[in-house]
Amino acid sequence: MTDISSGSVPLTTNEKVQASLGRRRRKQFILQGLGIGAISIAFLMLFILLWSQIATGYKAFMQTNITLEIFIDPEEVPTERLPRGNFDDVLAAALVANLPGVDASDRAALRSASGILSNGAQFDLRDRIVENPALIGQTITMRMPVSDPYDQLYKELLDRETPENLRRLDDAQIANYDHLVEIGAIGSRINTGLITNADSRFPELAGLKGALMGSFWALLTCFLIAFPLGIGAAVYLEEFAPKNKLSDFIEVNINNLAAVPSVVFGLLALSVFIGWFGLPRSVPFVGGLTLALMTMPTIIIATRAALKAVPPSIREAALGVGASRQQVVFGHVVPLAMPGILTGTIIGLAQALGETAPLLLIGMNAFITSAPGTPFDSATALPTQIFIWADSPERGFVSRTSAAILVLLTFLIMMNAIAIYLRSKFERKW
């Protein structure tokens, strides 16, 4: 080693650097460790979140059923009185026939025992008989959901060891249930009702059909409004707008709009769409309109980025053969930018699908037991349905809330997967 370090310092530079290395490596190690720790915390939280939803939600995808032989007693259900009739009594009789321990004349015991039948069972039976009155006087086999506490019992969510007075089912009810299990009347099946039923006060009957249709109509409205408006605005601002104060103002405006809290859009919708225009509350059309206003900035920003990515040479080439500005833009630039535009739109719609607060304010959290046939029928949406169920006191709604969350997340993942696929398939390197 040559003595470059001019002699005035006792230790050479190299030795000093060497001396500092240990401390500095340790610092680097700590920083790296903190970074890994931070990421791990974030991932752990995501994992716990997903896991807790799956762990509580998967049970709602199965539904406990009871299968009974039912004699349709013409005394109780006379043909001429249809659709009225004592269907609940018919059901109770069929149930008691399987329960030797229950005295059919003891009204209290009968009522307590028939609590296992879902409230919806009598309506199912009614609909079946109204459809085919010839069944009266015959014996039919029917499978129907059991009510929530028994469903919990089957899924072992209800603890038999709890003292009787704190339990939702007393000893006699549990004994009846055990007997029914023994004779094979109780079984469990995939809960198709979760998708095919609309909302209900009874967890065992509640499903997501209304919410899914509501979300569908709202998103359709949102797309039909936000997509053309967003593209129009983005194309104008990116390709045609003169660079002046006004277009600056519009740009600042759009950027700010993207960051306005969603609940404020709800207030806007409530006071303008419902208050001033007199549009009805709780309908997906108004929801879609509101979501469209929120999604538009996202679409505009994504579209402008996609348009920017198209190289100027394409524009110059088209202009060079004598095309007008609009012919260039709509004939060449926009089609080339389309994958980017679609990706941005899908991501915007995915955000809109998960948006809750504005829909609450326009009343899309109403209790509605039928699925909407048009965008102008009252409905809930998936996220508001989650909110309603999360707020419901019945135990059965806890797992249904998680199940609904899993359904919502599945849709979101699908939409994002489509966006990612589009992006990777059509991505072009200029």
């Binding site: 967003g230 806007l268 007008s324 996220p383």
Partner: protein, 458 residues
């Protein structure tokens, strides 16, 4: 009938397109040179019909309901509505509508049935009118557009003008939205301030809008001081930010500077998943998992924790903001020119020293912008707090207690029946106004910082 109107519009557009196109082709085949190709002549006719008629139909549909309702209500026998509040009037209207719709409950008074008949009649007349107007207007414009076809007619310019107009309209919708937000909030807030003085709203220390619900209630008797609400919002926001900033920044630093390429390419999408989870899911997560966990942890240490402690809502909100902050910090760090990184490394700085002494300070403006946007998000975030925070407005800074936020109050005041003359409803709009102003100021400030920063390194 509405469908019919749209069908007519569609048909008219197509016919007009075909007519004009054919006319133009005819001129061309006659040997004259067209200024614009024939397709543009057709397009010109199509747009000339589509735009105005569509506007008329939509306006008609929006206004029809209100006009019919007003007509029906004003035609009721004199004195029926005297002395009734707005709620009762609405109820009568709803009853008339349901009678008209064939759903009759009990024995309605005869004047209601008359009104219902009138309602049905008016509605029919309105739909018929709509179809008629659509037909006439379409035909008139079709004739006008057909008359325009000539060799010299600049159809392309005409079309492009219309399209430009449409695009300008699209751009202005964003401005309209902002104007709409400001106008509607201001309108209701002014009404609110007539009932509750501004000083009380801004400086009052008690917020109890729900308590007295009596017929003779005077608005000022309910308490409308927003201080406890805003303090609660601040407490939850601070909890969220305190969690989100270190986790977000450290993960960004790690991903940007230390992580191998593979790790980075796996971690970034996972963080995006975290960002894509809807807030209602976070809210349910907070009440299902986080709040009970914090409570039992508190119990284990002998600390009394409220069931809907600000820690649960704020903590979950912090997790929600992690990907937000980390992506801003990532962008900001990546935007620092590579030459600075090279400069530091060439001096013999370790990677950690390069990040902490050179890159991070240079990226600070961008990071601050991102953090400010995150703060504005936390303030405006609704579902997590609606589900996991409290309803009662406690004036406290203790995050273990239950506090409420501006957004929680807006939602709880407006959920359920709302009529616009109720101070509760108006209070929600006043809170909304404050929320909008506060977040707007933060956003403008943050966006400006971020933009300045980008320009500095571009």
């Amino acid at each position: 009938m509405t469908t019919l109107a749209f069908a007519i519009l569609l048909a008219a557009c197509m016919v007009a397109y075909a007519l004009n196109r054919r006319a133009a082709t005819g001129i061309r085949d006659g040997g004259q040179r067209l200024h614009s190709v024939s397709g543009y002549h057709g397009l010109f006719a199509l747009l000339m019909i589509l735009v105005p008629v569509l506007v008329v139909i939509l306006l008609w549909l929006v206004l029809q309901g209100t006009v019919v309702n007003t007509l029906v209500m004003s035609s009721l026998p004199d004195g029926t509505l005297d002395g009734l509040g707005k709620g009762q009037v609405d109820l009568i209207l709803a009853e008339i509508q349901s009678i008209a719709g064939g759903r009759i409950f009990g024995e309605p008074e005869p004047w209601k049935i008359v009104a219902a008949d009138r309602f049905t009649g008016l509605l029919q007349a309105a739909s018929l009118g709509l179809v008629l107007v659509t037909v006439l207007l379409s035909l008139a414009i079709m004739l006008f557009a057909r008359g325009k076809v000539s060799a010299d007619f600049r159809a392309r310019q005409g079309v492009e003008k219309i399209i430009s107009g449409l695009m300008i309209f699209c751009s202005v919708v964003a401005v309209f939205t902002t104007v709409g937000i400001v106008a509607s909030l201001a309108f209701e807030t002014v009404k609110f301030l007539k009932l509750v003085p501004l000083t009380e709203f801004l400086f009052g220390t008690s917020w109890e809008p729900q308590i007295p619900i009596r017929a003779d209630q005077v608005a000022a008797e309910g308490a409308f001081g927003w201080l406890p609400v805003i303090v609660g919002t601040i407490v939850i926001t601070i909890v969220a930010i305190v969690i989100a900033i270190p986790i977000g920044l450290l993960s960004a630093i790690y991903l940007n500077e230390f992580a191998p390429k593979v790790v980075r390419s796996v971690c970034k999408p996972i963080l995006e998943v975290l960002a894509g989870v809807p807030t209602v899911v976070y809210g349910f997560f907070a009440i299902l998992v986080v709040a009970p966990a914090i409570r039992s942890l508190g119990a284990a240490w002998g600390i009394d924790v409220a069931p809907n402690t600000a820690l649960a809502a704020g903590g979950v909100m912090g997790i929600m903001l992690v990907p937000f902050i980390s992506s801003f910090a990532d962008d900001a760090l990546s935007a620092v020119p590579g030459s600075l990184r090279d400069g530091a490394l060439a001096l013999g700085a370790t990677r950690a020293e390069t990040v902490m002494n050179v890159l991070f300070p240079a990226a600070i403006p961008g990071i601050v912008g991102g953090v400010l946007l995150a703060v504005s998000r936390a303030i405006g975030e609704t579902m997590i707090v609606v589900m996991a925070a409290g309803l009662m407005a406690n004036l406290t800074l203790n995050p273990l207690e239950s506090v409420t936020t501006v957004t929680v109050q807006i939602v709880t005041l407006l959920i359920g029946d709302t009529s616009f003359d109720n101070p509760k409803t108006l209070a929600a709009f006043a809170l909304g106004m404050m929320l909008f102003i506060v977040t707007l100021i933060i956003n403008i400030f943050a966006l400006r910082i971020v933009r300045k920063y980008r320009e500095a390194y571009d």
